[in-house]
Symmetry: C2
Subunit: 395 residues, 2 copies
């Protein structure tokens, strides 16, 4: 029956990363592949009490259809969260999404016409590429350095091409782990205003800052509703509840609401009620501090092991937060080829090529540290270090 | 910032029904407007135990990222449910969706190219129209009678136009409440094979049969993977969990899975675990019987009141299940105009015009009975009967 498929379905290919992660799921493999939070970060016991209290207090409402924009008490809670992140906003500027992934998909639907040009970091978040791609944009990659997207490269692009949208992950970026400085955040907004471009700020990891306070979002400097800000409870509560949000002007959110209707009517009510209850019952700041402490120790273990075992030809990022380290092997090497050998030695990572919408930078890779125990991080990085050393020597 | 909107967003209009339902939400209004299950149908107390047991037994897994196709134990349970519905299938033929609405949206993404022709009942489900519309199909309405879509009208269409998809709600259709006979189900499949057309069978209400056993789905007669079957837990457990499913060939489901990835990665894990636990712990058949008994009494109350109070010029359906009654006023009358007067008298319904993708049959309306108490049904129908009598007399 494949003759019935739409052009979109014909072009939709199972992501290479997805196939790779399937291989890496075997329990005897040390996997730096996925982008999963640590299971130790989830408040499982607390959620038992939260579930019972929620059903006792809010009863059938937690199981009924809800509004597309989301539960008002949860949206009010997010207004407070945004205030902590230095963004002054109101309940009308918040819409609940079924995870940040739905926020990305809706962003594509709301803004992208075929051929529209999107500036993004090079490399950028794989699932954003796949969320936007069905709307047929043209991706324009902007070079990064250790301080995130380079503003000189961005301005060079903006002055040359008619860019409609800048898509950026300023905090502990997926996949590189890099963070944009405050100066660059302000500069990006200045450039966006100068060239009349919309900014999509995607911040799933913003609060997971290991070495100091979280950075102010670009949205916090936005005085003209030019920034659409996406975030999620996936990294500070849990991803299984698929609950995220968008913060933007009411005019923009009206379009998100209308188009979300057709996607899933509304986000899971029970999870919305539970998250709200969890925040009002427990000390979530303390829980986030616990996650930060846990991930920081894992990051330290990974960076220390990399310093010890990776050959000096490999460059890598030293993330100040989040979940990922990025590494670059010498040019011409192919981490997809080396992947097979790594899996034979029972270690997995994500080859970096898929994170570039256009370029083929196959000498790169992403390493996740949040979802692996420290002992295994040490062993796994040692094995990868030995393998990479052999591969570099045998070039 | 509306200059940044995509063409899709420009064309997306807030649904008239949505605005109408907002008006009707005031607690002093007797509303036959929404399509909500009765809150008394939800197993709130049971879910407290289910939530605690789920978190105790499956722990962090209920809060972690999951697979796009959905939880295997839940999909196995759906295989058994499908077997009860006379469809023999396997776990590889089931994908979990974020409500049936996501199933409809994905169906549009997987199959519809701009200009593709879709045959559907006239009238048909409003949210299916809005789910398909962004993919720019042409809707071809097929006349109905009390036994559902008319097969002579369908064949006349198929022989004249190149139809790609038949979209049908054979059981207690939304909005008409009508049910297709077994003979027509078989005939639709025969015609689909003859003219090489795909069938999308949407069955959210199939189990809610008041006057005898549920009908066998069209899918139960399908020997060549020509039918994509959509269903949901919304009407037999609750809609707030946003959990539905698709049953189709693996070849077709692979496309659904790939495209669902970009939509929301996967459906809420906690709800999937809870529904599975609920089914394996409690007697869900008995619960569904309870819902049927409750809705049947409401349907009876509504039909009796209509017989007593509606003027003889109004035709109406007598649904054998589901949640809706459909009524047709004399031609030329406009239920949108009368709606304002009905709301003044504190009763709401949904004007029927929006359920027609092309036609303007503004003399129709939909009445929901599942979400209103029997006393209020009697009062509300009496008020509507008086209003309609006045309006017909004053034509």
């Amino acid at each position: 029956m494949n003759k019935f498929f739409s052009e979109t379905a014909e072009n939709a290919k199972t992501s290479a990363v997805r196939e790779i992660l399937k291989i890496a799921q075997s329990p005897d493999i040390i996997s730096f592949g996925g982008g999963l939070p640590s299971p130790d970060a989830f408040p499982v016991e607390e959620m038992k009490a939260v579930a019972v209290d929620t059903l006792t207090e809010s009863g059938y409402k937690t199981m009924q259809y809800g509004t597309t924009e989301g539960l008002v008490p949860l949206r009010n809670l997010i207004v407070d969260l945004m205030d902590k992140r230095s963004v002054k906003t109101g309940v009308g500027n918040i819409v609940i999404t079924t995870g940040s992934q739905q926020g990305l998909n809706l962003t594509g639907k709301v803004f992208i016409n075929p051929g529209d040009k999107i500036a993004c970091e090079s490399p950028t978040y794989l699932a954003a590429i796949s969320a936007f791609k069905p709307y047929k944009p043209e991706f324009c990659e902007v070079d990064m350095d250790e301080e995130g997207m380079r503003m000189d490269a961005l301005e060079a692009l903006l002055s040359k091409e008619k860019i409609k949208i800048i898509y950026t992950i300023p905090d502990f970026q997926n996949p590189t782990g890099r963070t944009m400085t405050v100066e660059r955040r302000k500069e990006m907004l200045r450039l966006a205003t100068k060239y009349d471009v919309l900014i999509i700020e995607d911040s799933p990891y913003g609060e997971l800052a290991f070495d100091g306070d979280p950075m102010p979002p670009i949205k916090s400097f936005d005085t003209e509703d030019r920034v659409v800000y996406l975030s999620t409870f996936s990294k500070i509560v849990c991803p299984g509840f698929r609950t995220g949000w968008i913060c933007a002007s009411e005019e923009i959110l009206n379009k998100y609401i209308t188009l979300k209707q057709g996607l899933d009517l509304h986000t899971n009510q029970f999870s919305q009620y539970m998250i709200e209850k969890y925040f009002t019952t427990y000390d979530v700041d303390a829980q986030v501090d616990k996650i930060i402490e846990m991930y920081k120790a894992k990051r330290d273990a990974m960076i220390t092991a990399i310093e010890e075992h990776f050959p000096k030809e490999i460059n890598y990022s030293k993330p100040a937060g989040g979940m990922f380290v990025w590494a670059e092997l010498p040019e011409g090497m192919d981490t997809k080829e080396i992947f097979t050998k790594a899996v034979e030695r029972k270690v997995a990572y994500v080859p970096g090529g898929s994170f570039y919408p256009n370029k083929s930078m196959d000498n790169t890779l992403r390493l996740n540290f949040s979802n692996m125990e420290i002992d295994k991080i040490k062993v796994g990085i040692k094995i990868l270090g030995e393998l990479f050393t052999e591969e570099i020597n045998n070039r």
